[in-house]
């Protein structure tokens, strides 16, 4: 089964209707259907357009600071006593995470489509900041929807977005978190569909978003592949990344999918523990369903109602996951595992002390699983972790865990 699907994977997935096997698709209200076809057409037109790609490359290089380095974490490697651990330093990007790779791509596309109003949803605020940043630079109107609960938890990012000229709208419906912000952004889009471009922050939503966001984020994996080959002369043995919606993970994994010798691990947030039900691990503990434009694994009750999630990191606190991950799980190409809040927090401190790098709590989930995996591997093997963001935004969360308040 695996070999059959991996052969010509790049050509076959998604299919022309945006399906990854049974997952993905276009599940939106009729009013948005023409808009997503229009987007798909524009994306098809520009994805291979030399001018578009040149403009994007220039921004990625001089505005974002790419290529991001591949860093050998020597101290940590030695301490764990196994595989050589490399960190893909997305934390060094402008705005502090991988999110900006995608917002630049989509904003440039919006500009070419003549849409001058940008909307976005955000959880922790990273995607909102990355969107507000490119909107400021391109002189576009920007509206960011954010769960009212998250607005309170992430006051600093809210202020950053406002400084950048974005309007931040707190969403007070439902669970007042990321999924409700997505609902509200979709409601805005349906109302202002003529002049508005919706920049989705992850590899979810209706086709073409999962494929388009993946393509924009794949710069991570393309660079990593070249860098690791230069440094070690061979492909890595394993890739690790945290999974909320899954954009940083697919960005790292995608260029390696047809390289079957490379193992892939997507690490979900197990929150207080999978067994407690308080987690955000749909691939580990959910089942397939339809939400926010695509069919994928979801956290839901037996009646198909979406249930509230929990994670120490707001960026993972989402009940769904990109449909391509659902497919990679089912065909057995990637492994999906989970680590708890406590394990992620321990890894956060560990990397900070041993390497002098403060990671985002999201990325700390990948680090926590690496600390279990690396010792089972030999020293001539290599492991690449996507350090998807920096931890500056998490100071107050980590301090609060230690009983401190700023």
């Amino acid at each position: 089964m695996l070999e059959q699907h991996i052969h010509d994977y790049f050509k076959n997935f998604p299919d022309s209707r945006g399906h990854f096997g049974p997952y993905g698709g276009r599940f939106v209200g009729e009013t948005l259907m023409e808009a997503i076809y229009e987007l798909e057409q524009a994306y098809q037109q520009y994805r291979d357009d030399p001018d578009f790609l040149a403009e994007m490359d220039k921004d990625l290089s001089t505005f974002v600071g790419r290529p991001s380095p591949l860093y050998l974490a020597e101290n940590w490697t030695q301490k764990l006593g196994g595989a050589q651990i490399y960190l893909k330093r997305e934390d060094l990007n402008h705005t502090g995470a991988h999110k900006v790779n995608n917002t630049i791509g989509q904003a440039l596309l919006a500009k070419r489509m003549g849409k001058n109003r940008i909307i976005a949803e955000t959880g922790a605020g990273q995607h909102g900041v990355a969107t507000a940043t490119v909107a400021a630079r391109l002189g576009m109107e920007c509206v960011v929807y954010m769960g009212a609960e998250d607005v309170e938890r992430q006051a600093q990012n809210v202020y950053r977005m406002k400084l950048l000229g974005a309007q931040v709208i707190p969403v007070k419906s439902g669970s007042r978190t990321l999924k409700d912000a997505l609902n509200e952004a979709l409601r805005d889009w349906v109302t202002n569909v003529d002049d508005t471009f919706y920049i989705i922050g992850t590899v979810a939503g209706p086709h073409p978003y999962p494929a388009m966001v993946r393509d924009f984020q794949s710069v991570i994996g393309r660079e990593a592949k070249q860098q690791v080959m230069e440094k070690t002369g061979k492909l890595p043995d394993a890739l690790l990344a945290c999974i909320g919606g899954g954009s940083n993970a697919i960005g790292l994994f995608y260029p390696f999918i047809e390289d079957e010798s490379v193992a892939m691990y997507g690490v979900e947030g197990a929150g207080h523990g999978i067994e407690t039900g308080q987690h955000s691990a749909p691939l580990s503990a959910g089942k397939p369903g339809v939400l926010h434009g695509n069919r994928t694994y979801l956290m839901q009750d037996e009646n198909g109602e979406i249930i509230e999630t929990h994670s120490i990191s707001a960026g993972l606190d989402y009940p769904g996951v990109g449909p391509e991950h659902a497919w990679l799980k089912d065909i057995g190409r990637a492994n999906y595992v989970s680590v708890t809040d406590d394990e992620a927090l321990a890894a956060f401190h560990e990397l900070t002390r041993t390497e002098g790098i403060i990671p985002a709590l999201e990325s700390s989930h990948a680090l926590a699983y690496a600390s279990k995996l690396a010792p089972t591997m030999s020293s001539d093997q290599t492991l690449v972790i996507n350090l998807s963001g920096r931890g500056d935004k998490d100071m107050h969360t980590v301090a609060a865990m230690a009983g401190l308040n700023f």
């Binding site: 599940f27 209200g29 009729e30 259907m33 023409e34 999924k179 997505l182 349906v190 369903g289």
Partner: protein, 273 residues
């Protein structure tokens, strides 16, 4: 012929426009729903759209969002909704019921299972707002096998080519969404809607319903001028919300609102007869 087609046929023979109220099942209390359905029929409903509550109603405005939240607070699930229809059918065999909602509760139940239970309960049609024709091959086939009409939406943004595709998939009637936006948002523009309906009539023989933006007798009558059915939702649901603490007055209040629209439509139908 399905109960929905039958209903439209006899209304047409009488020169009447169908009136289709929407309420969310289980809002504000589960036991209110079945008596309210009967009250709506008494007030002049020809077909009823019964909403399946969903945790993430992304095509709905705040009024129906809150209705979903009230229903879910009472743990009203898709299974309960089907039981309500079955109970309604004990006393009413004529009025078609269309279930309206989102894909996931039906996905969770399984298409086959849902179709069997819905048929058994006496459901006549189903409209899943986040499932366009492109994604509903299997669903439509199973609903066809169970003689349940799959209702589809057409929007102001829908191109003429797409209208033709939708028309080829649609059963029962086609629901024209009169505005770009969510339920309960803005007032509709009758002349704009009229142009779109004319385009749509070129592609289909099915009756055309118009919903979104109808809030009183006047707008209902104006729409009845151009459509085969007038769908009204948020206005009624807002009335339900206002009576959430006065449940004994609720059915009469909601029925009163609907009756006003019925009278306005009838007066218009008569005038044009």
């Amino acid at each position: 012929m399905s109960r929905i087609s039958q209903c439209f046929k006899s209304l047409k023979a009488d020169g009447q426009t169908a009136l289709i109220p929407y309420i969310t099942a289980g809002d504000p209390e589960p036991w209110v729903t079945v008596p309210l359905l009967h009250a709506l029929v008494d007030a002049g409903a020809d077909i009823i759209e019964l909403g399946i509550p969903f945790s993430d109603p992304m095509c709905d405005g705040p009024v129906i969002q809150k209705a979903c939240e009230r229903a879910l607070k009472n743990d009203v699930s898709i299974k309960h909704v089907l039981k309500m229809v079955k109970q309604f059918r004990e006393k009413n065999k004529e009025t078609p019921i269309v279930l309206m909602g989102y894909a996931n509760p039906i996905e969770a139940m399984g298409y086959q299972n849902f179709a069997e239970l819905a048929k058994d309960a006496g459901v006549d049609g189903v409209l899943t707002v986040d499932v366009p024709p492109e994604e509903s091959d299997e669903f439509r086939q199973i609903m066809d096998e169970h003689e349940i009409d799959t209702i589809y939406l057409v929007a102001p943004t829908t191109s003429p080519e797409r209208m033709a595709t939708i028309a080829s998939f649609a059963r029962g009637f086609i629901y024209y969404v009169s505005i770009k936006g969510v339920t309960g948002a803005a007032a509709l523009d009758v002349s704009e809607v009229s142009q779109k309906l004319a385009q749509l009539r070129d592609k289909t023989q099915l009756p055309l319903g118009v919903g979104f933006g109808i809030r009183d007798g006047k707008s209902a009558a104006a729409v009845s001028e151009i459509a085969d059915a007038v769908v009204v939702g948020s206005t009624l649901v807002r009335c339900i919300e206002e009576h959430a603490d006065k449940l004994d007055e609720l059915p009469a209040a909601v029925a009163g609102l609907l009756a006003e629209m019925r009278h306005a439509i009838n007066a218009r139908d008569l005038a044009s007869a």
